[in-house]
Symmetry: C2
Subunit: 439 residues, 2 copies
């Protein structure tokens, strides 16, 4: 027996995509973001205090393909791109399914997740625009870590406002950001006016993403060489993440894989959008009837239980209003381990695709997803991130449905990251103390 050709499908560095794919070109009419004060469509200049010009242009662009600058392509090497596409032979055997299961390995980035793909592009454009400092918020710490790491590649500084609760509970995430050279403040902080105001009113607060966003934006607004950077939801973030799906399509061509299902987890939508939008392009063009499945936690079921309407992107109600599936901006998801999926809303592009019935959605409770993750650890040897366990669980369920119907379908899911830095959830799972996550 030789190594099967589709055991792991790799690409060479020079095969990193040369263009991103922009779903806004093909999805049809998109309701524009609204200025939160005037409730009129937001103009590019509304974003100028916090984003640099190329990012604002990409945010509003309907151009189908956008060139990836050569400096961005080169630096994707540092995120270990191209990422392999791998077949889960042992998982298939465990499930006794006739289905074929493949997974795209975003876990191989030194950051442990897909987050660096957009962080890198954003750092590049900001550096090109003369920006010296990027600010952002982080909850669990993945996004802040990603931005801190890639900013070094373009010699810009990073300031991260980390939700105080996480800052105190996740010292190693803070260590990682410090190692990458970032300034990290527990939010609310004494560093901003808004932070000081909150601290005065609520001295014992453990903070929130909403507060942290406000602090990061305040810092960006106040300095012309400082911009704000967002890790999910917006169109330009989805755009940058399409390297995931474009590589996957190239790999599937190479190995003659025709997917019947493409599956990814969704929080704000960035790994889902990045992984599935290029396939959605082909679906809209009538070239495939691949079923595209978004998987969310029961704790934040914006697609399966939310409403499609205008809502704020943040909790505090300061961002532009976005047309999206939302549970209401004041909805606070339960404290699940899949911190990256704890979001009340959904990327407007993902929302539009769902509204148009181009994609499906499923939701799972926390213990089910960790059980899937523990099976994956034993069969494939990789510990999936709690977020990625959602995609995995859905892929396994679809494979079992194929078994019932005796259908030899092909399922491709996105392993958005590994769980080595967040093993506490697995510890609870093993000890039987992992709580349900239903909203």
């Amino acid at each position: 027996m030789a190594i099967p050709k589709d055991a792991r499908i790799t690409l060479d560095p020079e095969e990193i995509p040369k263009q991103w794919y922009n779903l806004a070109a093909d999805i049809g009419h998109l309701e524009p973001p609204l200025n939160p004060v005037t409730e009129k469509p937001a103009k590019p200049e509304d974003f100028a205090p916090i984003f640099c010009k190329p990012i604002i242009e990409q945010e509003g662009s309907t151009q189908r393909y956008i060139n990836i600058p050569e400096e961005v392509r080169e630096n994707l090497i540092y995120l270990n791109r191209p990422a392999p596409l791998q077949r889960a032979y042992r998982l298939e055997k465990y499930l006794k399914t006739p289905a074929k299961i493949y997974f795209k390995r975003e876990d191989m980035s030194p950051l442990g997740s897909h987050k660096g793909n957009t962080a890198l592009a954003q750092a590049y454009y900001n550096a090109e625009s003369g920006i010296h400092t990027l600010t952002t918020e982080t909850g669990a710490g993945q996004w802040g870590t990603a931005l801190a790491m890639v900013s070094n590649l373009f010699d810009i500084d990073t300031t991260v406002f980390m939700v105080k609760g996480s800052y105190e509970q996740k010292p190693f995430r803070k260590t990682l950001m410090h190692l990458y050279g970032a300034e990290v403040y527990a939010s609310p902080s004494e560093y901003t006016e808004f932070g000081r105001k909150i601290l005065k009113e609520h001295p014992d607060t453990t903070g929130s993403l909403g507060i942290a966003i406000s602090e990061a934006c305040e810092m960006a607004v106040k300095d012309e060489h400082t911009c704000y950077s967002l890790g999910s939801v917006l169109n330009h973030v989805m755009l940058h993440q399409t390297v995931i799906g474009l590589e996957t399509i190239e790999q599937m061509k190479k190995a003659e894989i025709k997917p019947d299902y493409m599956v990814a987890c969704v929080g704000g939508g960035s790994n889902f959008g990045g992984f599935t939008f290029p396939m959605l392009r082909d679906k809209i063009a009538g070239k495939t009837d691949c079923e595209i499945v978004a998987v969310e936690p029961k704790a934040a079921p914006s697609l399966t239980e939310g409403k499609f309407r205008y809502d704020f992107g943040d909790t505090a109600g300061m961002t532009p209003l976005l047309m999206m599936y939302t549970l209401g901006h004041e909805f606070i998801p339960k404290g699940i381990h899949a911190g990256g999926l704890r979001y009340h809303g959904m990327s407007p592009l993902v929302s539009a695709a769902y509204e148009k019935n181009l994609i499906k959605a499923r939701s799972y409770d926390q213990p089910q997803t960790f059980e899937a993750g523990s099976i994956f650890a034993k069969t494939e040897g990789i510990i999936p991130a709690p977020e990625s366990c959602h995609a995995l669980k859905a892929a396994m369920d679809i494979a079992l449905e194929c078994k019932e119907k005796n259908e030899e379908k092909t399922i491709v899911f996105c392993l958005s990251g590994h769980g080595l830095i967040d093993l506490y959830g697995y510890e609870q799972f093993i000890e039987g103390t992992l709580p349900s996550s239903s909203a």
Copy 2:
């Protein structure tokens, strides 16, 4: 500017080596291990109670090349082999050195280190020999995790005796082993006679590697379907690890890289041996004058400060006597973060190479190595394991020596693993509380 060809040099899965290289064929006379009771050369049957037959044969073999079973090659995919060889362009720039620096990426295994390479081969041979259970000891937890993970690939069980101090201080390593399905006992345990004896005499002991080895061996001796597995030091372990160096040589050929230095950290010798022995073969054959450098911690300087003599492999004095560089089997290294380098002795093959002046050695103090690691994090984006920081530090020093002499030399070092599961040392480094490690 396009992506430089040597930015990352990859191999396809089918290019995984087909044979291991055995340095015992070329190193000349090796003093045999001695039976600890008779002090006569140990016979194969001396090892039979704890090792399976193919492992014992490999341990004593002087055959130059040993075929890698196809099942082992296939499963190396699960360790993300072949591993990339990457150029540290940004580190070179930071150091302003004319030297070229490359590093072999053993950090990309889902285990986070090179340990799986031999674990996999050992699990295979034991499964083939009808063994149902493998036992081992683990200190910090890396080796136990590796064995637990790969044992699943061959459907054998793993029992790990984890030094009680680590068991209590490193809950996530225990979680990882549990996730991979291993039984994990805090050692000394109630599970073995020896453990019960120790517990009776010293009820409050935090354990030691010596005790844990004794418990693991007792379990192997008592059951004919149970064998013991060791993660370093012995010849068969070095043999299995040569996939690292064989891949590296192949990659260097592809990219026309002629190394002037090959550098790796040494504890028991497994990543060093695996990485450098194939180059040592060429050096012995007079085909290269590449300088081969072993880097050890000041806390356990067996090569730079130890003596070449017969000594026990364990602390308790129960194993065969090995001819090696040693600080004495009762030497207890300071509690440095590079737990994988805390060993009183040295692989007999590495020791023989050092005795014959075929390799050089350097030693570093803990804070220097973490400083190197933090520079690597900022420049190359990867957090090196505390062990790997030793190799990195030496590579950086050599690059600076090249700068002084204005020599455009090529340095290749082994990044034996990442530090994402052990960030505490970096936290101490950042906070300025990291202690010196001098012995």
